[in-house]
Symmetry: C2
Subunit: 236 residues, 2 copies
């Protein structure tokens, strides 16, 4: 293995705990509004709309739309499904949609990133829009060197333009860049573009629901249980 020069991080699930954070924000709002639907259920339903919504953009059915905009379309679907469309005021919905800007990092994320930053360029490569990623970083203290978003490339992952585009902006060859992710399909798409890959196991990504992406794979450059182990493996 040749050491990479830059590490790119998938963000939702890999760096931050979206399920627990969204569930908490919903629960606080639901309590205040007297709604009896659990945060765990809303978080799961909301995220279930994620890939279908991005695929509408990826196939051209929908023009370029920031993830904030897609999240809002998905939220409206979830509320309709739950018969809650009129249970929340527009202001509540707008504020709830921004819960995706306030997701808590996994406990190992910030200490691991601080170690890795001393030796490598570190940046998110996420489908989140730039403002979302900047706000997440400020909220969680994520010490990125720069921010790569699907929005910059106007292509959502796993389109190759994202992986190749980030390497090109860093003036690096694809093999000098490693994608770190808890989703095997994301890593496989990056590998097809020539990037190195690191699988991070995040067993609690979906809360108490089973996570389909568990277990090391020989096809990935590295397999780790967290960012501390990643830093140690890369001698950072």
């Amino acid at each position: 293995m040749t050491l990479p020069r830059a590490l790119l991080f998938d963000t939702f699930g890999t760096v931050v705990d979206w399920h627990g954070s969204i569930a908490r924000e919903w629960n606080a709002l639901a309590r205040a509004r007297g709604i009896r639907v659990t945060g765990a259920r809303v978080a799961s339903l909301w995220r279930a709309g994620y890939h279908p919504a991005m695929n509408r953009v990826r196939t051209g059915e929908l023009g370029w739309t920031k993830l904030d905009g897609l999240h809002r379309l998905m939220l409206d679907d979830v509320l309709a499904q739950l018969g809650l469309t009129d249970a929340l005021a527009e202001e509540d919905k707008r504020e709830l949609n921004l819960a995706w800007h306030r997701l808590k990092p996994w406990p190992d994320a910030v200490p691991g990133l601080k170690r890795l930053k001393k030796k490598f360029v570190i940046a998110p490569l996420s489908n989140g829009n730039v403002a979302l990623l900047v706000n997440l970083a400020k909220y969680g203290g994520l010490p990125w060197d720069c921010v790569f978003s699907a929005e910059i490339f106007r292509h959502y992952k796993p389109d190759p333009e994202t992986y190749r585009g980030a390497a090109e902006l860093l003036s690096l060859a694809p093999q000098e860049v490693m994608l770190v992710a808890s989703h095997k399909s994301d890593l496989r798409a990056a590998a097809r573009c020539g990037l190195q890959t690191c699988f991070v196991e995040r067993p609690r990504e979906f809360g108490s629901k089973p996570n389909p992406d568990l277990g090391a794979e020989a096809e990935f450059t590295l397999n780790v249980a967290g960012f501390g182990e990643l830093a140690s493996q890369l001698a950072a």
Copy 2:
């Protein structure tokens, strides 16, 4: 004045001392190679090629070229002018070109940015390419929230796509964004796009040569002598 939400910083001259840094790197190399041309002269000649080189891209005469590539074309011109084309090996030239990735911040820059970061999104908006800006930040400890480069927009400042593009990526209206720069023409172009403006006086930008951009102007939102004064004026 309405407080901005994000501050964008021109970089060469505004945040970092390109003249002093380039002169020092040249002087060290020249001493080692027995060349008797001063660093101050080389720095001035090299930078004199800056606007003409970018204008070749802005007018379409030259296809999109990263600033690293333009810097190299400019360096080759400078060496030819000085009759030094064969005085340096290719490896020396390549390494010298990367001196633009190692420019020292002005003494007030990092402390001021740290204060400003607590209250605002802070990012460079520079004609430097992304890798150059990331390396500058690592070299000088510039605590950016994210990095905006002409390279992302494939337009060099003062093209309006750069100012408007950065605001759009931040999901902000132009008037919620302030450009901070030591060059009045850059600020005027930003103002035409609706951004707020802050002029920073950097009397030593050109070393001992006179700086044409001195003195406050009523047309700018703010006029300051450094980033500490900027942070105080914005109550950061």
